[in-house]
Symmetry: C2
Subunit: 405 residues, 2 copies
């Protein structure tokens, strides 16, 4: 009851999130999709959740050229803890798998010029059954700050949806109170959506930097396609809430894992760029094919994703399995990135002719249009000039249009 009163009081403060982070979608690496809750360091030492894994991935972010392009977060996910808090109520990293502790790991990651993210859960337990933050929000926020954590993902297993409206803001408050800017990633709206309700995205955006609002991504085209449909439907108009400091999170990048063809990999990269989504790769950075690495490091993708207005692209045409998406890259529709999506899984490429005007690009002087992945200059097109695109099955044509005034 006392807790409830506290939570209600905090919620009523309605303070704004002001950590100054996530001005553009965060980029980096996150362990979950690829490494899950693998805690078997005896039989699988290279792939288990351990300080060695995060150190190796941090090194690879630098040595493989990812960090200098903006991929700077190294994010721990579930299963990093001991099953019990210490006698002071402080969370403890698994003593065998993280023998030097999280602070030491954060120092190491910082020494490489990178940032360290961590995972907790708003409920009584994490999804994997480790100690949750419920009733320990302040303590955990302070612990994370003392360790030098740069990003906190707060999951929502083992919690009541009704508590989340109070609890997620409370954690936002406590994170702020530490004085250490920590990017706050909330799974809150995802649990609201799972519960069949439409989240209050404006409220969520006032407390969280990024937030998951749909199912976990799996290593398959089905999963990517499904997430794109959820974002295309945009129920609750969550796209409108995105902007510097606040981004919807359609979940991890799986380009470099096992389940996507090259065309499907292009779809994820182009669409995550257009959706202004966090680019958190969940892959083995030590085993990425050259063509896949080029896609992860693609200049056009990163430029569109990181564009400073932070506007989230939206689906503007849906015709059966053909879709057009557009992301404004200025506030007055003077340019943007677009995707022609072919979601059909049959036959050969489809041919599309489309005038720029259909994308809402109406400046009479015309736009310089480039192909997004290659940077190839297509031409200076006026609003009624046609873009000619060939789009492979389960593939994308990704374009960028600039107005040079």
């Amino acid at each position: 009851m006392k807790l409830l009163l506290l939570l209600v009081a905090l919620a009523q403060l309605a303070f704004a999130l002001d950590n100054g982070l996530a001005l553009t979608p965060p980029m980096g690496w996150l362990s979950w999709q690829r490494y899950r809750c693998n805690i078997d360091c005896f039989n699988d030492p290279d792939n288990c959740i351990s300080e060695k894994l995060y150190m190796r991935m941090a090194q690879l972010l630098v040595s493989e050229g990812y960090s200098k392009l903006g991929y700077t977060y190294v994010n721990i996910d579930d299963c990093w803890m001991e099953m019990e808090r210490d006698p002071n109520g402080t969370l403890v990293a698994d003593r065998k798998r993280f023998p030097h502790g999280i602070k030491w790991l954060a120092d190491y990651v910082h020494s490489l010029g990178l940032k360290l993210g961590i995972y907790e859960d708003f409920g009584t337990f994490t999804c994997g059954g480790y100690p949750g933050s419920m009733f320990y929000l302040q303590k955990d926020a302070e612990t994370f700050a003392s360790w030098g954590i740069d990003m906190v993902k707060l999951d929502g297993c083992y919690a009541d949806i009704s508590d989340m409206d109070f609890g997620y803001p409370a954690m936002s408050f406590f994170l702020n109170q530490t004085g250490r800017p920590m990017l706050y990633s909330c799974s809150w709206p995802a649990y609201v959506v799972f519960n069949g309700q439409v989240p209050d995205y404006k409220k969520i955006a006032s407390y969280c930097n990024i937030w998951r609002n749909y199912a976990d991504i799996q290593d398959s085209w089905d999963s990517v396609k499904d997430i794109i449909q959820f974002y295309g439907n945009d129920t609750g108009s969550f796209s409108l809430v995105a902007g510097p400091g606040n981004f919807n999170d359609p979940d991890m990048i799986i380009v470099g894992d096992y389940g996507l063809s090259y065309d499907q990999q292009q779809v994820q990269m182009a669409m995550w760029a257009i959706m202004a989504a966090p680019l958190l790769m969940s892959i083995d950075l030590g085993n990425v094919k050259p063509e896949t690495k080029r896609l992860l490091q693609n200049d056009g993708v990163i430029r569109v994703n990181q564009e400073f207005h932070g506007i989230q692209g939206r689906r503007i045409i849906k015709d059966n399995t053909f879709e057009v998406w557009f992301k404004p890259m200025s506030v007055d529709a003077k340019g943007g990135a677009f995707a022609f999506l072919n979601l059909n899984d049959a036959g050969g490429p489809i041919q599309v002719q489309m005038p720029l005007s259909k994308l809402g690009l109406m400046e009479g002087e015309g736009y310089n249009v480039t192909e997004g992945f290659t940077g190839k200059f297509i031409g200076t097109l006026k609003p009624h000039d046609l873009i000619n695109a060939s789009i492979n099955p389960t593939g994308v044509w990704f374009g960028i249009a600039y107005f040079d005034c």
Copy 2:
């Protein structure tokens, strides 16, 4: 009524199929999945159903090294005809798209050392709405023979299932009567299955060389996985009917199209080899990545697929998303090919340890085991020795075990 009596009489002959073909699963190329019913040669000249397409693919089968490995059939699918038969009731190829006619095309294909397949439908129309063979079975069989056709695929759109029991055997009879050996591919059991019934596979095998018994493949992992499950369930024990001259057909190879990751491509090749399936590629042979081409031309895959006993492999273990498949390569279980399948689309590789004895390989002297794709020698293993395999998500470990007596 007269026709019905004729059909009944023919069915009662119960002649055996004796064209001497398909002693091993046929290999080649088939247009449907990749090129569909694209008849727009004006806008899409390189991809439309036309003699040019089949000539180009025939040339590529030779020049890219496929034909010398056994890929010798060049198979026309739907949409090759004029909408009307000629005044003699003879089928006519579309005059614009096949200006030289099918006989000329067959001669060309034969001149390259290849074989030409064609498509018709048992019903009143083909699935694409072109003239069907119903009431013209003899005429069409004679036409195909006169053109020099080597394989006939007879689809089942626009027909009653109840007629198929008589009609498909009738076409088998008429094809035999021509004196020209033409491999006979029947869609008959697929329509029976769609109708919720279990086909009489023994009867079908007495009239057809190969037969489709499930849905058309699409360019996706979902589709490949779904087909593998149908073959694993083996309802009606259709696997037992396979052997020299007769093979179940799980449909085309899509390795080289757009929808499969490399791991998923390996699954299709290993599984089609183990299922003793026809290897009919439906891809643009002029645009195949080197690693994909190596898979299509893989020695282990082709050797297992073409093994002369023609025994169809079966699923012997199913444990959630992990499956083990085994194809005997002798009549006395002295060797075989096997696949460990990981159908999970999450996380990282799984590690499997399995003794050969679980595959039914019990010869005490042991087996020489090789990794199927690379030919790498694993060792001489006795029945209780373990095979250690790491299997990627939506991936396969493909092995071959030989008993050297």
